[in-house]
Symmetry: C2
Amino acid sequence: MEEFNLLIKNIEKHLSLNETEKEELRQFFTFKKLRKRQYFLQEGDISHYSAFVINGCMRSYYVDVNGFEHILQFAIEDWWITDMMSFTKKTEAKLNIDALEDTEMLLITREQQLKLFEKIPKLEKYFRIITENGLISYQNRLLESMSLHAPERYANFIKRYPALNKRLPQTQIAAYLGITPVFLSKIRNINNQ
Amino acid sequence: MEEFNLLIKNIEKHLSLNETEKEELRQFFTFKKLRKRQYFLQEGDISHYSAFVINGCMRSYYVDVNGFEHILQFAIEDWWITDMMSFTKKTEAKLNIDALEDTEMLLITREQQLKLFEKIPKLEKYFRIITENGLISYQNRLLESMSLHAPERYANFIKRYPALNKRLPQTQIAAYLGITPVFLSKIRNINNQ
DNA sequence: GCCATTAGTTAAACTAGATTAAGGTTCTGA
DNA sequence: TCAGAACCTTAATCTAGTTTAACTAATGGC
């Protein structure tokens, strides 16, 4: 199937697979489509799956006591997304994950993932690297949120994800930057003068 | 050597090792002591090592353009610390790491780590799990920094690390919470009334 | 195709937390 | 042992970003 090629390409950035391995790999994943606005995971549920996005766009976010959404991650094509805490420890998810656009993805359960590591041990390396990279990007995000003002954080966001800046509504970008849409509107306007 | 026992215990929380493996493991690590205030890593250098703390306390922090320090992580006994970006990609570190107390630790280089994975493949699992947990805690910290006010973040800090709250000077805790020492003083006083 | 919801703009009033400053205490190293 | 450094407190002033509100533009579900 066409969908697997993106995943295989992604894995092959880090290690090489022979044809048998590629064939085996497929058995461990299921394919799923989500409509725009559809939930992939809701707060309080257990995140049985980790998702690799083929196309479209997802987000993971936390809803605070006042009902405000705080976006931790966007995932477009070629990215992984899950609630890592819930996925690895089978605890109730604190995060929600839903689709911002119609989205296609490949899913794997934690159980299947662990079996996969036994069947094709080098995939443990792949997921270690993916996780290292995820850790790095959260660390970076935390660092920026502590040391930069909103206009600088927005400037970095544009530089890092120019496509997302055009593709996503301003409310979502504001919820990612940790500011209100009102203030993002102000920042954008100051930038345009 | 006595020092290795803590590391082995830590590994054995996640998988079991036989005596031969324990013996092999030792070859990959070096032992190091740091005096209080001594650097383990300076911004701009390459983080050749990842450190497992045996006793004492370290911190990783970022110094912003105005010279203010923002602490990303404290590491006391039984914790790992490094600049993951620099360690895995051999890029110039953005972070500084130094000792807040006299500290003893075990070090491993990235090259040795990768060799270790070949020699004892199940240790790749160990480091995958350690990295998953690191990712979870950064994710959690980001989430709190976005959705909670300083007094609530401080309350969580006390709950999570009661020992550190007593052990560390207020300046360091403030730099971890992302507030000024002046404001932390205020929070503490309001709490005591 | 229309009405209701969602998204964006602008501006005024407000607040969490920063900054500055001054005074007091506790560490530390030569 | 003592001088400078690091640490802590309190209070006044300031500011980045929020809140509220009133208006306009774009979407989408029936």
